[in-house]
């Protein structure tokens, strides 16, 4: 992100002069008080909006000036876990998770194998045919996470991904993110959960007054997984 600023309508800047470079394979927590602009920052990265000024480069492409036709290919490399999940209520848990694969034209047999395995991994093998409204908040969150990671994205953005689950499930989901990070995906997790931030020794991106500051890990807990690191830019 180069000198990125964002405001809504005629309102004040939500983000201002953001300078941020993420290495491929990095893992960050995005922290900051409510209203600091965490969700707005993530929305620029999953291309929900363009910055008011500045530029955002993803995987070598300037998304700010890229043609609309070039955006789907970039979006397929970004997995997003929304704070409000944004599951499609008329589709089953299976079909929600299968969505990124279907839009990419993956064969149905492969979709069935991948989605079934992933839903089993997040503990939802018995709820594959369930519609989201019939699932608990925690179950919906797991479906949303499965949808975000099913096509092995290069960048995973998660907005409060453990906010609705118990500690055991939260640990399991974090483990999933860490595994994907070890496989090469960059991960940004926006969270208020200081315990989570301190439990896993990953560097922080602290948002305050519309600006972001890169901070070292809060404090590494002995035995906790370490970041995979990376060398090239996202």
């Amino acid at each position: 992100m180069n000198a990125v600023g964002l405001h809504y309508g005629e309102g004040p800047d939500v983000l201002s002069q953001i300078e941020l470079t993420l290495n491929a394979g990095s893992f960050h927590f995005l922290t900051g008080p409510s209203g600091a602009g965490k969700t707005s920052l993530l929305s620029l990265l999953y291309l929900a909006r363009r910055p008011t000024h500045g530029s955002v480069h993803l995987f070598g492409t300037d998304t700010t000036s890229a043609a609309r036709g070039a955006l789907p290919a970039i979006r397929r490399q970004v997995g997003v876990v929304f704070q409000d999940f944004r599951l499609l209520d008329h589709l089953s848990a299976f079909d929600n998770v299968a969505l990124p694969l279907r839009v990419a034209g993956v064969a149905e047999t492969q979709i069935k194998d991948n989605v079934t395995e992933l839903l089993s991994w997040v503990g939802l093998s018995d709820a594959m045919d369930a519609l989201p409204p019939s699932l608990s908040g925690g179950q919906q969150q797991r479906v949303a996470i499965a949808r975000a990671v099913v096509n092995r994205p290069r960048l995973i953005l998660a907005d409060e991904p453990t906010g609705n689950v118990d500690d055991a499930i939260a640990m399991r989901l974090m483990q999933l993110f860490i595994e994907l990070n070890k496989l090469g995906a960059s991960v940004i997790i926006a969270t208020h959960n200081q315990l989570l931030v301190s439990q896993f020794g990953f560097p922080r991106l602290a948002l305050s007054d519309g600006r972001v500051e890169e901070l070292p890990p809060l404090s590494a807990v002995p035995g906790a997984p370490s970041p995979a690191g990376g060398t090239s830019d996202v």
């Binding site: 397929r76 997003v80 499609l88 079909d95 839009v103």
Partner: protein, 294 residues
């Protein structure tokens, strides 16, 4: 029928499109059937009158002697038989004249009681205008006040009327197509607004505009096909009822109207084309609308 990522039912397209399609296809079926029927009538009349000439021998004024009138007609027949362009000549009998008058006068009044012209049906071997002129010359030499009718003027008017009906049918079809397209555009835009959240999610997971437009198109085709099928069945029933009623009228006014192969090909085509038109309109509408989004 199709797998779709969009919710089915309850939105504007699902509510309006089937009804709209049913009405439009019903009207389109009637219009196309009308053109088919008129073409069929025209072809039938064309077969029956082309290459024939009717010669009228008027009755002599104040002449009660039926045999004198008959003699004039028979002399005209013999003169016509000598014309080279004539294939056959036939003087219509009293019974045949009665049948021609029956639609107007019923069966109570025999033609013999009326001062009617004798009618001679002439079939031409040569259909040129010269042949008609030769017939006129041969007949008027014997019967100067004979009337020669080669049906051309009548037939030309009939062709003009049929063309007018064809243009009317084309006009109706154009209005139907325009109304169909505009309503599908409106319904699709309304559905796009209703499904904005779904479309956003599809975009975020990497769906291209063509994928989303394809989803809408499949969905529109499914709902449109249901309506088109209903309109087709209703239209077909209406046409068959009219056809049956026309066939049951024992009258010389109405020619034999049969629903031929062209009818059975063109009428289902109306429903199929209407459904495909709705699908294509929805596809293009979605593509154009999505271009305004990020």
């Amino acid at each position: 029928m199709f797998r779709t990522d969009l919710p089915l039912g309850g939105d504007s397209a699902s509510r309006f499109v089937p009804w709209l399609m049913a009405i439009m296809v019903f009207l389109g079926t009637l219009a196309v059937s009308g053109v088919n029927v008129f073409d069929s009538i025209l072809a039938g009349w064309s077969r029956s009158v082309t290459g024939t000439v009717t010669v009228q021998i008027p009755p002599l004024p104040a002449q009660d002697d039926v045999s004198a009138n008959l003699d004039r007609a028979e002399r005209a027949v013999r003169a016509l038989e000598d014309v080279g362009a004539v294939e056959s000549v036939r003087l219509l009998s009293g019974e045949e004249l009665d049948r021609l008058l029956e639609p107007w006068l019923g069966t109570a009044t025999p033609s013999a009681d009326l001062p009617l012209p004798a009618l001679i049906d002439v079939t031409l071997a040569d259909r040129s205008e010269d042949a008609v002129a030769a017939i006129a010359a041969a007949v008027t030499e014997i019967v100067p006040d004979a009337v020669i009718d080669d049906h051309r003027r009548w037939f030309d008017r009939l062709v003009g009327l049929t063309e007018a009906f064809r243009l009317l049918a084309i006009g109706i079809t154009t209005v139907i197509v325009a109304a169909l397209a505009l309503t599908v555009i409106y319904a699709t835009r309304a559905s796009l607004a209703e499904f904005r959240d779904v479309i956003d999610v599809l975009h975020f997971v990497g769906a291209r505009d063509r994928y989303i437009a394809g989803q809408f198109a499949k969905r529109t085709l499914e709902t449109a096909a249901k309506g088109a099928a209903g309109g087709f069945v209703l239209g077909l029933v209406a046409v068959l009822i009219v056809s049956w009623l026309a066939g049951s009228v024992e009258s010389g006014f109405l020619p034999d109207v049969s629903l031929g192969l062209r009818f059975w090909l063109s009428v289902p085509a109306v429903a199929v084309i209407a459904a495909l038109l709705a699908m294509t309109t929805a596809y293009i509408t979605v593509l154009n609308t999505l271009r305004a989004m990020l």
